[in-house]
Amino acid sequence: MSPLTVFVRTLLKSSAICLGIAIAVIHPSVESGRSRRATAQQSPAQAAIDGLVIALEDSDAGVRRSAAAALGELRSPRAVPGLIAATRDEQPGVRLQAIAALGEIGDATAVPALTAALKDADARVRGRAAVVLGGIGDKSAVDALIGLLADKEAEVKRRALLALAEIGDGRAVTAATAALKDPDADVRRAAVLALAELSGGEQ
């Protein structure tokens, strides 16, 4: 109840709205918060997951996005095949949410699909896939992430560098060094961080 109370209070004190009929229909967002309890995977959850996986094929993109977000909350490996299919959804918002959910679940079987998503037409999807691959930490994604350093979007390159740093594979050193000459300052900064990480973490 507390965040809602805070919301209501803030809304009211803003006094911007009179006759405040506030119907709060809340939709999930891409970067859904950390889960409060880690007890998600058991009991009635299986039916819930199966139902949500079916909803990943709903005719309405908003429903598909919501279902993907919910599956991210539930964090069950059972949802991985359905979410992998959703990384090829026609709507970028759904692909983005599916990839974020796969990141929450953190299952390595998603790595090939996530690697494929590094070539997505939508820059946000590419960047998010890079972040998730970094989190999973599977070395098979390294080459594809190095390839992403030639992306046209600076933010995508920056995320690829941070993912490479997280995976910590020495193959990335040459590419990260080249990124020190990137025209974008944020990319250069990420390259410095990545190099520090890659050289410090060598065994």
Binding site: C18, V25, D60
Partner: protein, 294 residues
């Protein structure tokens, strides 16, 4: 900490209130503006009220004139002021009286006495505008007079007083607001349900559960929202019932509240709601299942 979804709703609610361009005009002093409150053109009166509002408590000498303007319901475009101050995005018009109420709120607690008196004015528009201002003023002395205003003979005044009690967020208002859920006017009942959700007192639970069977859909959906806002445990079963309401808004809102209440028994009915014919209901059901399961 404000959670992300909450922050989003907050933004969506407030953004439309901050649009519009600044009127090109030289600054005028309080005396000039006070005189302009009696101009023959409604737009001129409205502008004067807006400008006085910008002066905040420096407009104290104008209190009486502003209070006299509260009854002024002449329609003017919301764009007379530099931003939409009074109503939500759907509302296209305001009035000098509403803008005067805004100016009195900006003056602050020194305007309280005039506003309380205006609650007893002959013109209902003045009483409604005063009720709004008392809700926005955040002065606890207003609770008693506002509770009395819940018995006003004009429905818009009762609704506005209910809003104000929700805005003031004081528990004294809860019992009278529960009574108002039985008002003969749907808009009043809806506003009462909203206010009870805003105050968030558990005593409102059974009244709101009953309001889920209101003949008007807008009252039912507001009650469903309020039950989520109150986070009332016993609400799960009636909210599950509301997932079968004939009105899609009610079903949506029930799904949202079930997510907030977080009762695992709701999962199965929510799964059924994933097959609802309304996409909004399916979205909200998916969201709720995720929230309950996390």
């Amino acid at each position: 900490m404000v959670s992300r979804p909450v922050a989003i709703v907050l933004l969506l609610s407030v953004i439309p209130a901050w649009r519009g361009g600044r009127p090109v005009q030289l600054p005028r002093d309080v005396a000039e503006l006070t005189a302009a409150l009696r101009a023959s053109e409604p737009v001129a009166r409205a502008r004067a009220a807006c400008e006085l509002r910008e002066l905040g408590d420096r407009a104290v000498p104008a209190i009486e004139s502003l209070a006299a303007l509260l009854a002024d319901g002449a329609p003017v475009e919301t764009t007379v002021c530099e931003r939409r101050w009074w109503r939500g995005p759907s509302e296209q018009q305001t009035s000098p009286g509403e803008l005067a109420a805004g100016a009195l709120v900006a003056i602050g607690t020194r305007a309280y006495g005039s506003l309380e008196s205006a609650l007893g004015a002959d013109a209902w528009i003045a009483r409604r505008n005063a009720a709004w201002a008392l809700g926005a003023l955040d002065d606890n002395r207003a609770v008693r007079p506002l509770i009395s205003a819940l018995g006003d003979r004009e429905p818009p005044v009762r609704a506005q007083a209910a809003w104000a009690l929700g805005a003031l967020d004081r528990r004294e208002g809860v019992e009278p607001l529960i009574g108002l859920l039985k008002d003969e006017h749907a808009d009043v009942r809806r506003q009462a349900a909203w206010a009870l959700g805003a105050v968030g007192d558990a005593r409102a639970g059974s009244g709101l559960i009953e309001a889920l069977r209101d003949p008007e859909a807008r009252v039912r959906s507001q009650a469903a929202w309020a039950l989520g806002a109150v986070d009332h445990r016993a609400a799960a079963a009636p909210l599950i019932n509301a997932l079968k309401d004939v009105d899609a808004h009610v079903r949506r809102q029930a799904a949202w509240s079930l997510g907030v209440v977080g009762d695992p028994r709701a999962v199965e009915p929510l799964l059924a709601a994933l097959k609802d014919r309304d996409a909004g209901v399916r979205r909200q059901a998916a969201w709720a299942i995720g929230v309950i399961g996390r």
